[in-house]
Symmetry: D2
Subunit: 347 residues, 4 copies
Amino acid sequence: MKKALIVGATGFGGIGLIDIISRHPGLEIAGLVALDHGKKISDLYPHLKGICDLPVCSPDEMQIDNIDIAFFSTPDRAGMQLIKKFTDKGIPVIDFSGDFRFNSLKDYELYAANKSMDINHYEPSLLPEAVYGLPEKFSEEIKKAKIVGNPGCFAITMILALLPAIEKNLIASETIFCDGKTGVSGAGVNPGRANSYPLRYENTNTYREGTHQHLVEVENILNRFSSENKKILFVPQIVPMNRGILVSMYGDPKEKLTTDEIIEIYTLYYKNSPFVAISKNSISTADVRGTNRCIIRPAIDKRTGKFFICAAIDNLMKGQSGNAVQNANIILGFEETTGLMLNPMFP
Amino acid sequence: MKKALIVGATGFGGIGLIDIISRHPGLEIAGLVALDHGKKISDLYPHLKGICDLPVCSPDEMQIDNIDIAFFSTPDRAGMQLIKKFTDKGIPVIDFSGDFRFNSLKDYELYAANKSMDINHYEPSLLPEAVYGLPEKFSEEIKKAKIVGNPGCFAITMILALLPAIEKNLIASETIFCDGKTGVSGAGVNPGRANSYPLRYENTNTYREGTHQHLVEVENILNRFSSENKKILFVPQIVPMNRGILVSMYGDPKEKLTTDEIIEIYTLYYKNSPFVAISKNSISTADVRGTNRCIIRPAIDKRTGKFFICAAIDNLMKGQSGNAVQNANIILGFEETTGLMLNPMFP
Amino acid sequence: MKKALIVGATGFGGIGLIDIISRHPGLEIAGLVALDHGKKISDLYPHLKGICDLPVCSPDEMQIDNIDIAFFSTPDRAGMQLIKKFTDKGIPVIDFSGDFRFNSLKDYELYAANKSMDINHYEPSLLPEAVYGLPEKFSEEIKKAKIVGNPGCFAITMILALLPAIEKNLIASETIFCDGKTGVSGAGVNPGRANSYPLRYENTNTYREGTHQHLVEVENILNRFSSENKKILFVPQIVPMNRGILVSMYGDPKEKLTTDEIIEIYTLYYKNSPFVAISKNSISTADVRGTNRCIIRPAIDKRTGKFFICAAIDNLMKGQSGNAVQNANIILGFEETTGLMLNPMFP
Amino acid sequence: MKKALIVGATGFGGIGLIDIISRHPGLEIAGLVALDHGKKISDLYPHLKGICDLPVCSPDEMQIDNIDIAFFSTPDRAGMQLIKKFTDKGIPVIDFSGDFRFNSLKDYELYAANKSMDINHYEPSLLPEAVYGLPEKFSEEIKKAKIVGNPGCFAITMILALLPAIEKNLIASETIFCDGKTGVSGAGVNPGRANSYPLRYENTNTYREGTHQHLVEVENILNRFSSENKKILFVPQIVPMNRGILVSMYGDPKEKLTTDEIIEIYTLYYKNSPFVAISKNSISTADVRGTNRCIIRPAIDKRTGKFFICAAIDNLMKGQSGNAVQNANIILGFEETTGLMLNPMFP
């Protein structure tokens, strides 16, 4: 059994990892680390009783000997302060924040500015070594990575949905609009107005219109596969559900195409991606609830001839912990799908 | 007191009308008509006890003498079978369905085909007399109307949000994308998969992508105010809330404009529309819950220079019963806002 | 117009008062006070735009001249620090916390201990003058009160539901069980685990089983009308909705009674209480949503002969701001129902 | 691999079975049968794509050769018409309805009358052979059973929670009150008012107060283990969530006991029951979401000395399909927990 350390164990990313790893045939949890330490994880989260009863220790107490992989399910700017300890020992790290989603300091600074954070990176020298944790595209790099920057939940949805059209040069530059809807769990476990029940129930609202921080990584990745420098207008919305992301994307096709042709192109593109499914039908977040799947529906609107692409994921799985374990599987030499062939919770 | 008859009293439209009219200082309910007749409305809906305890009678039993106005909060193809009785006596009718939203038979047939209904209209000769019930634009026509076709909930949101840009020729033809989110009550009171709690909770899904029936009236009305024949790609989505519509709209500006300039144009455009508010901030459906308001936020995205317009209504109020009473106020000579200055239910 | 000051204006109690008073024909808001001061209330809560755009000032800045009544929609232990300023000037105060729900220091200390708070009262000398704000029972005292302690939301539900049975000596001492269900808004506006969307959605849980602080006032008031010293087992539960309280109460009848007889007794008991309705049917919180009503269904179970009483309120209305305005109406000489005859929001 | 037939495959019971059996190491689905036949199950429920793509056939087409076990996840009165075909061939049947929860015709008739159904049983001669599917108590009988009547969801919760107290004679006869809360999925997949989103959101209501049909089996089973003939007052309530049951139970202890002593008795009683957990803390349905667990918290209220027992299950798992597979495991010779050690979905 390979041994995993979870730093940031008490957030939704952490308990998602505990959930998945507790069922993983080749991976086990060696330790839990978090700032709110001192109790057993199952005292903080009673649903974990009998599943994981390890104590949560402080960053100062953490033991990193004999660790095969470390997950940093930590907020922005936490992982970059700890990562040296791991990379120095050759322990691969998968970081959930934006700290290592970029290879250039300039991109990080843009990202940090969008989130109104301090833009100084603690370990800029490690940035060039970081690999963007998109297994559908970068599995070779991930295999050898010291540091994987696990993608943002909205970002991975948009990238998976747009990549085939962009790489195949099917969609016109500067015409892409992305309209995102996310469940409330995307705001994390720490209580605030963004995840307040009274303020969120029966409410759909826009936020960070055109300025969401995930745009930086989306454009960054898409432009690696495009000769044009695409700029996307992305408007996120919060809807009153807990889990789930659905993004609807629009644009102008570069050539006349039918829905069937697009479906074929997408299906071929993802033929070796076990978690990506191409659909001809309406997309529901309920169909991916609790799974690591991404369902994509690419289409051409008959009346207008426009591109319409819709994609759905579970933001806590393919948008967070599930994708992280998929990356870990690749690094550790497991089948990509190990521990991740989960059924949707329905209804 | 003016007397109103409510045909289709037992659906959400009907109980919305009862709610509003019971508080209206100049209007009272003369009778309730519905297919599921034979009981008092407050036996069917106990929350109405003490507010309205009238019996629900059948269409055969309905009394139309001494009626000043009739609301047909009925499904498609019901109103067109009864309306002659009213128009022959000079009683104005406000119909909630698509039966009288169009002046041409061709438009109706397109609408009906989109809903997979019988496309034959029972009273085609009345269509030219029908007025589209958008008080912000057609109050003069509504004042004298025999028949008002109350707009669809998505349609009124998109029309109010796009009209200023289109009429002022600010937005490029053929570039408009509309992404709609609606609460479940839009599917009406009759139980089905679309309003099933287990299938709707924790679920956001697309439906009728590019083919929603409201598109017909949206393009119909917008093109009256445009020299170009606009075709719009509209993708509706259902989100797990009961009330509320939020539509995000995207497109290319025809000239370089700033958000401030657009805000000014919109504010001026709606300066005499008491229920339309122009906002500079993020839009939430919670802010219009239970009110007849429409909040619109027009903006230019700084990074891409694209148009972004967002609008929110309560689909059961400005999207249905509230707008219908606004129309009735105009017809009956009341102030447009009478009985409709309602506070949002918050939280 | 009488003038009201709202201290604690930015919580749910405060915005509930603003909502009601903005529609009240005889009362207007003279000022808003809160710790998070410095902005207009409609900047904090955009749904109030055009309804109330007053600034929120700090306790230090508050003006109390020309005030006819003060609402302290403040947390425990805030009102007791400010109240002297008002009582010294003869301004009646309605306090929403437990600070003035008791006439004896001992009861307050018990209440405070249940909430794990400091048990020292700042103004013990004012306690004997405080009147429990239950208009259905103490309207004469409220009329002349300097200080009204507005009841707890669970407390008022249980008291209204049990009083007739207890005062008429119909229910056996020591056999009463109360099982309560509350919506999440009862936990207030300040973000915490109790009102976290991800932790509350799809979750029903018990809390403070047998030790809820409202028990002190429930037993206190009930025992004023009973020769026996009743002790009640009350188990509260949080259910995933925003507004609404439903309490089911059980016990042994002292004599053989039928449901019809009980209904008659309850109906007579509340014949002059405009907000209390006695029902023969199943009780739904949806039927009181947004209203000041309390619906009570007293019954005898045919199979077991046991008492079953169920009651429902909107916790933010009859359980908080609505009841407070009802008390204010009594103090200020308005009809008890002024500004409070509100329709339920349905659906 | 043992082969299972699922009759009634398209309801929540059926798709729950498909979910569990698709992950079961020793059981596979041989066929799906339902009245709405003719399509693949994954066309009806797209979330099952890749998990189960079998066609749904009609009862007339069903193949029962080579079947090792049949699940009838059918409504009342459906299984009793088909069961002979299976029992004649020695194929064990697990029925989800009330058809075979009783050994006496009189009990069935009482149950059927409570549900306002036809009270005539089609196969009364099979009733004495039916075993009540409570594995925690009747595993020996289940092992050899031809017909297992899978318990009702409320019933199994109350029985598991009350049995230790009743069998050990700790709780006074005629003093038990049960207050139940269920999620909406308990009303099944067929659309109706009981599972209508607009009527269920933001609503908690009582129903069938004192007359719920599960009472018959609860009293029936409890009284097998009691010298007294207990009659229980049970009031069910629907709360706005999809999955989950929480029942709070109250009564008088027969002797003076502490919570610690009760906890010890319960823990001992269920020491061999892998799915029953005894807790000292507040109970949440979220902690059992998606699992076959039942968490029970027995307690003595310190102030009143009364019994308080709370229990939670996932109504679609331990209350339906999970418990059915547990019964199937016993019949087919698997470990009781095979395929059922599932993690809660959290958050």
